[in-house]
């Protein structure tokens, strides 16, 4: 049963696909959500004249967008290198 299952299902590769999907899919949602938090809070803080907090949220926004851009580039590289 297990031998047949191993023949039909490549569990090792499947596990890698599931893990990579989980990390990248959930990761992109987290960093993009953080970018939205950064953008919204940056606007709020700047309007209230709180320069230090505004700068901190600007950094959060920049880093999050950089991570999203990196993920997009990585995705295109994966497509181009498909085997």
């Amino acid at each position: 049963m297990s031998a047949l299952g191993s023949t039909i299902v490549d569990w090792g590769t499947l596990g890698k696909v599931a893990l990579a999907s989980l990390v990248s899919g959930v990761g992109i949602a987290i960093v993009f959500s953080l970018a939205i938090v950064g953008a919204a809070r940056f606007a709020d803080m700047r309007r209230d004249g709180r320069a230090i907090e505004a700068s901190a949220y600007a950094v959060l926004l920049t880093l999050s967008l950089a991570a999203v851009a990196g993920a997009v580039v990585l995705g295109i590289v994966v497509m181009a290198k498909k085997s």
């Binding site: 023949t7 039909i8 299902v9 490549d10 590769t13 499947l14 890698k16 696909v17 599931a18 990579a20 999907s21 989980l22 990248s24 899919g25 959930v26 992109i28 949602a29 987290i30 993009f32 959500s33 953080l34 970018a35 939205i36 938090v37 953008a39 919204a40 809070r41 606007a43 999203v68 997009v72 995705g75 295109i76 994966v78 497509m79 181009a80 290198k81 498909k82 085997s83």
Partner: protein, 368 residues
């Protein structure tokens, strides 16, 4: 002369399949962007068409692997490929008519398997390959996407939960332009290559290309990219409506999570060489993003109809492929059978579209 005619018919039929692939699978890419108003319907399908076209040029690595390890290579003749393509086109049009998303890749594989069975019997089909490369991934793809999209939307809601809805919705709509673009690129690289592979295999069988120096000619790449992009641009609005509004009513965060999870799963599966259907992945992502918010938000009846269509895809396309092969053989091994079948199919498609136009299409770019 006869073989030249068959080659031309196979190339034309492959491009017609590619067109239905873009037409049928547009929904996978654009439905969530349209339903959350991230983009206007026409802009969404235009962007998807352009990115599908571009995606077709990114990689040619898997163009030679159509039906590889599923059907014995000796059984693949131009007539078998032709009959398989007709089976796939028939199933794509049938599921489009009922607004059901189903895998064009599975329809192609099912059609070729059915035609090969009719031509050479059970020995032509590698049962283990069919199970491991098609059936098992079809079961697994929606589950992975469901879980990833569900976790993604749960964490996204948690992170942006304290903010006002306005900036959050605007932000996620902007994000959907990127996630939808990645999906369109991935779809172009995956699906246009299948048509390129079919045409190139026909060229090898005909002797235009040596099997020792397998390469995809430039005109094949350009014509396949154009066909899938044209099909995408024209768009299957019935399926877009099912994917965009009938499974769940989505907010922009859910749309982004579903598309992001879909792109992540498709790219991960490409990277590790474990092919998954884009249709199954995106459908699972949409259901996961809906169920994580509220299980009852998903219209499980619609989801059930989709699953039934998925289960039926390979046997139904296979039956059509086998029937097409049988009909062509009634007229011998020459070009007459494929010519007659092509003419009958073309007239049937024109009649169906003519009837739809007379009735007035209820689902278009302007009414979705």
């Amino acid at each position: 002369m006869q073989s030249d005619v068959i080659l031309v018919i196979v190339v034309g039929t492959a491009l017609a399949f590619d067109f239905t692939n873009g037409f049928h699978d547009t929904a996978n890419v654009v439905a969530t962007s349209i339903s959350t108003r991230a983009m206007s319907p026409r802009l969404a399908v235009t962007l998807a068409a352009l990115l599908n076209f571009a995606g077709a040029f990114i990689s040619l690595a898997v163009a030679a692997t159509v039906a590889n390890g599923i059907v014995e290579s000796d059984a693949i003749t131009p007539t078998v490929v032709f009959a398989g393509l007709i089976g796939a086109i028939g199933w794509n049009l049938a599921t489009w008519y009922f607004g059901l998303p189903s895998s064009s890749s599975h329809a192609l594989i099912g059609g070729v398997v059915g035609a090969a069975l009719a031509a050479d019997g059970a020995a032509a089909v590698q049962g283990d390959g069919l199970l491991s490369k098609v059936v098992v991934p079809a079961l697994i793809a929606p589950v992975i996407a469901f879980v990833v999209a569900g976790l993604a939307i749960t964490l996204a809601y948690r992170i942006v939960g304290v903010l006002r809805p306005g900036p959050v919705n605007r932000g996620f709509r902007l994000g959907q332009v990127v996630s939808g673009g990645m999906l369109a690129l991935a779809h172009g690289t995956n699906d246009a290559q299948k048509t390129m592979g079919v045409i190139t295999l026909a060229l090898v069988a005909h002797g235009n290309i040596s099997s020792d120096h397998f390469h995809v000619p430039s005109w094949v790449v350009v014509s396949s990219a154009t066909a899938i992009a044209l099909g995408t641009y024209i768009g299957g609005w019935r399926i877009i409506k099912t994917m965009g509004t009938r499974i769940i009513k989505m907010d922009p965060a859910q749309g982004f999570s579903a598309q992001g999870a879909g792109a992540a799963v498709i790219l991960a599966s490409s990277h590790f060489g474990y092919p998954l259907s884009t249709t199954h992945v995106i459908s699972g992502g949409i259901m996961g993003a809906g169920a994580a918010k509220r299980v009852s938000a998903v219209r499980w009846g619609i989801a059930g109809n989709m699953v039934v269509a998925w289960v039926l895809t390979i046997p139904a396309a296979g039956a059509m492929g086998a029937a097409t092969y049988g009909i062509t053989r009634i007229f011998g091994t020459g070009a007459l059978g494929p010519v007659l079948v092509s003419v009958v199919l073309l007239m049937s498609v024109l009649a169906i579209f003519g009837r739809r136009l007379q009735q007035g299409s209820p689902i278009t770019a302007t009414t979705s």
